[in-house]
Amino acid sequence: MNSPFTSYKDTIQAGDLVLIWISRDNIKPITITPNENFNTRYGIFPHNDIIGKPYGSQIATKTSNNKFGFIHILQPTPELWTLSLPHRTQIVYTFDASYILGRLDCGPTTRVLEAGTGSASLSHSFARSVGKLFTYEFHQVRYEQALQEFKEHGLIATNEKNVNNSTNSSRVVITHRDVCKNGFQINPLEDTTSLNEQSLPSLNLNADCVFLDLPAPWEAIHHLDAPGVLNNHEQVNICCFSPCIEQVDKTIEALEKYGWTDIEMVEIQGKQFESRRQMVRKLDDALERLRDLKRRKQEGAERRKRLNEKLASNGIATTSTSTSTKEIDVEKRPYTSKIEFNPFGKGFRIKEGDPNYQWKQVSKIESEIKSHTSYLTFAHKIFPEYNIRDEQLVTNLITEATN
């Protein structure tokens, strides 16, 4: 099974995991199954209408009241997947995830350790962009949920035989583990893990990248020095993800103690903007409206005055409702009954962008911003005992280059 997260598909087929885009806040993952229906309050969408269409297709349906309801069928990506997650879980959002991948220098041959798995939002980003992801989760229920999800997403092969081959389909290995207590080494014979390579007593993880999203990362850092965990033969990168500044402080202490250098801490502040339009309301129109109001008020006053005078001269009481009063009234109406000058549609419900008015394009920051996710602490480690060069090789290379 190919993972939709690690390869492109053009046509929607039965059995595909797809994301149904209903709205920005409502993106649903489903597996396309013949003869099933996808129900929304905008209408019913038979899967059979979806099968065979290209990815990205808009699917429309006529609702009961003869309007259209529609959805879009998207191929999952880590970024869309993250958007589809319910916001109650702790998610590593794309603003952070992308920076972490960049700072950890991730590429298709990178091997990453991640603890804990959590909602697996970042795991999907890693799985897409690196060669191998070893992820650890110590909450039993969350471990099982994540394991199931990785299998459904094609990121863990169910019949895997050789974990050290980065080109096979199992991008992800998940282990149920308290890394603070028990470290990172994996023994497939004893551990609860997605590995079904039962023949291996232990495994060289050889990670070049570490991501720790733990309440106390400082308790896990020394475990990274255990044999086979990190790739000793090149610089290894770490990122610790902690919401509180005091956690950062303890993390820095532990990193310094265990030989990590170039410690840098950053915050990522991501913002999203809405594209809006504001009505252009010129001063001259506002003034003309005031003039109009004033004129109408004056005319009204004058009309009433004339009416009073007329009534007075006719000897009719102003409170009377006799026919003649009405006639006089009608005679005077033309002055004031014309439509009010209303350049800005005051009193009407004007749709933003209504072509009868002039609009200015404006941007509006989303009404609630994620002002803080976590602090990101980065560091590097080189194992000095392995930072030794092959003098003979170097001499040969230099000689070769010189001649």
């Binding site: 390869s7 492109y8 053009d10 885009w21 920005r24 290209p54 990815y55 990205g56 297709s57 429309a60 006529k62 259209f68 529609f70 879009h72 998207l74 990506t77 880590p78 970024e79 992308s98 920076y99 991948l101 960049g102 220098d105 590429g107 298709p108 041959t109 980003s125 897409r128 962009s129 033969h233 090149e234 610089q235 500044i245 402080d249 820095i252 030989g259 250098t261 170039d262 410690i263 840098e264 801490m265 950053v266 915050e267 990522i268 991501g270 913002k271 999203q272 903007f273 809405e274 594209s275 394009q361 941007s363 590097h380 080189i382 930072n387 090789l393 290379l397 230099i398 280059a401 010189t402």
Partner: protein, 466 residues
């Protein structure tokens, strides 16, 4: 030796200096790299160690500290910068005499960016530092009991820069009377003056970008920040097997970043033959500008195989296959071998042009797994044209230095059913000072960084046929 992990001959690397400045050097056998006041070293001495290693320059014989050009052997060519440029931020080398190459040794902990080495940090507990420099009236260097002569003596004793600074601090009468800020400033100044170490780093896109920004080449890269560059890669869902249509006015920085995400570690020794991924760059001028790829570890062959370029005109208004074929008459092997040498060359040029034209037609008709645009062209006129061949459910990501430009685009895309949920976003990385006990965001940072627009290409339903 893998140039993505180890220091390799012929490689372009970033060298970070104690001043937090950096330079890019090409590592050529037998050359000497001069770091100005921080010393000089021989390229040969660092080859083969891991990228990320910090070296200290030291001089065994105290006389070598003095200027002695004879110490540079005739085979050593002294280079000061791989790409010398007119650049005000560059180390002012003229102030310092050219140094002969010292020896290098690996130092275990490098202290870049955290500004202060831990050893000197410990002598600065918060409580020892006085409030607002109450008693500190500037008496200049009188407070420093170590004379320059003493310091030179220490240096000749091959004392490390760190050790010298610690000694200076303990000899400074008023040091504990300074505020935390003046203490830090003092130490930083001293550190930059006396420490002779440098770090050799892999020239990843982030390092390359930082180097360009430090150099003042901000407009050349459209003011983009590293965090904007990285989120662009994620939003565009870059994968090793993808085929991406790209507009890149950053001189190739974005193409480099995409290539690293696609191919890093697979790339260097021409063994990327089995990788399908491809970048198709459309450019506004006659010729593409991918200057910055020269800093990459990708071979010319690898780049040629995986990065195709064609002009916007060739992409948007390709000739028909018929037209192309009408302009070229293929010769048989025999006919070719009968041509005179000059004519033969002309024939091959024309053949290449023909093949290229055919390939361009193919590229202009391909479907793409993503559109990535960093262009100063008017985006509302550009994006709809370029996105025509983007496959459904594939991302379109535009970078711009200015939000207003993307705002205009987003209004257009929002009204077009070929695009789903255009989002306008900004990301900003805020670095901290990471000295324990004195954590705070850096006081100043670069203001730019740009904005991104992200949406999905979709295929609208035909509402007439429901």
């Amino acid at each position: 030796m893998d140039p993505s992990t180890h220091i390799t001959l012929g490689q372009q690397v970033l060298i970070k200096l104690p001043s937090n400045n950096s330079k890019i050097c090409e590592l050529k056998a037998n050359e000497v790299i001069n770091l100005g006041k921080f010393g000089a070293f021989k390229v040969n001495d660092i080859i083969g160690y891991q990228l990320g290693t910090t070296f200290e320059i030291y001089y065994e014989d105290k006389d070598t500290e003095e200027q002695d050009p004879n110490l540079i052997s005739s085979k050593d060519k002294v280079v000061t910068d791989a790409k010398p440029k007119n650049n005000h931020k560059r180390e002012r080398k003229d102030k310092f005499p050219k140094k002969p190459a010292g020896k290098v040794r690996i130092i275990k902990s490098s202290t870049f960016k955290s500004s202060l080495p831990p050893s000197t940090d410990e002598i600065l507990p918060n409580t020892n530092s006085s409030k607002n420099n109450e008693q500190l009236i500037d008496i200049g260097s009188e407070a420093q009991k170590l004379s320059m002569k003493d310091i030179e003596e220490l240096k000749k004793q091959s004392m490390s820069g760190e050790a010298i600074i610690a000694k200076m601090v303990s000899s400074h009468e008023n040091f504990h009377k300074k505020t935390i800020y003046s203490q830090e400033k003092y130490l930083k100044r001293k550190k930059q003056k006396f420490e002779k170490f440098f770090k050799v780093e892999y020239l990843n896109p982030g390092n390359l970008l930082q180097y360009l920004l430090d150099k003042g080449d901000i407009l050349r890269v459209l003011d983009i920040s590293w965090e904007s560059l990285e989120i662009l890669l994620n939003l565009a869902n870059i994968q090793p097997t993808g085929k991406y249509l790209v507009c890149d006015e950053t001189g190739g920085l974005i193409v480099y970043a995409i290539m690293e995400r696609m191919f890093k570690g697979l790339n260097t020794n021409g063994n990327g033959d089995d990788i399908a991924g491809e970048i198709v760059l459309v450019h506004e001028n006659e010729h593409p500008n991918l200057d910055l790829l020269k800093y990459s570890n990708f071979s010319a062959e690898f780049i040629e195989k995986h990065v195709k370029t064609l002009s916007m005109l060739d992409y948007l208004e390709p000739p028909t296959k018929l037209e192309v074929e009408s302009l070229f008459v293929a010769l048989t092997e025999e006919q070719i071998s009968n041509l005179k040498p000059a004519k033969k060359g002309a024939y091959y040029r024309s053949l290449k042009f023909y093949e290229r034209s055919l390939e361009n037609i193919k590229l202009s008709q391909s479907k793409y797994d993503g559109l990535i645009v960093a262009s100063t062209l008017h985006l509302p006129s550009l994006i709809p044209r370029l996105s025509a061949n983007v496959h459904g459910s594939r991302p379109i990501v535009c970078y711009s230095q200015f939000k207003e430009v993307l705002l205009e685009l987003s209004h257009l895309l929002y009204d077009d059913t070929n695009y789903l949920a255009p989002s306008l976003l900004e990301t900003r990385c805020r670095p901290y000072q990471t000295i324990r006990g004195r954590l705070h965001p850096l006081m100043t940072m670069r203001g730019g960084g740009g904005y991104l627009l992200w949406c999905q290409k979709v295929l609208p339903a035909n509402f007439d046929h429901i």
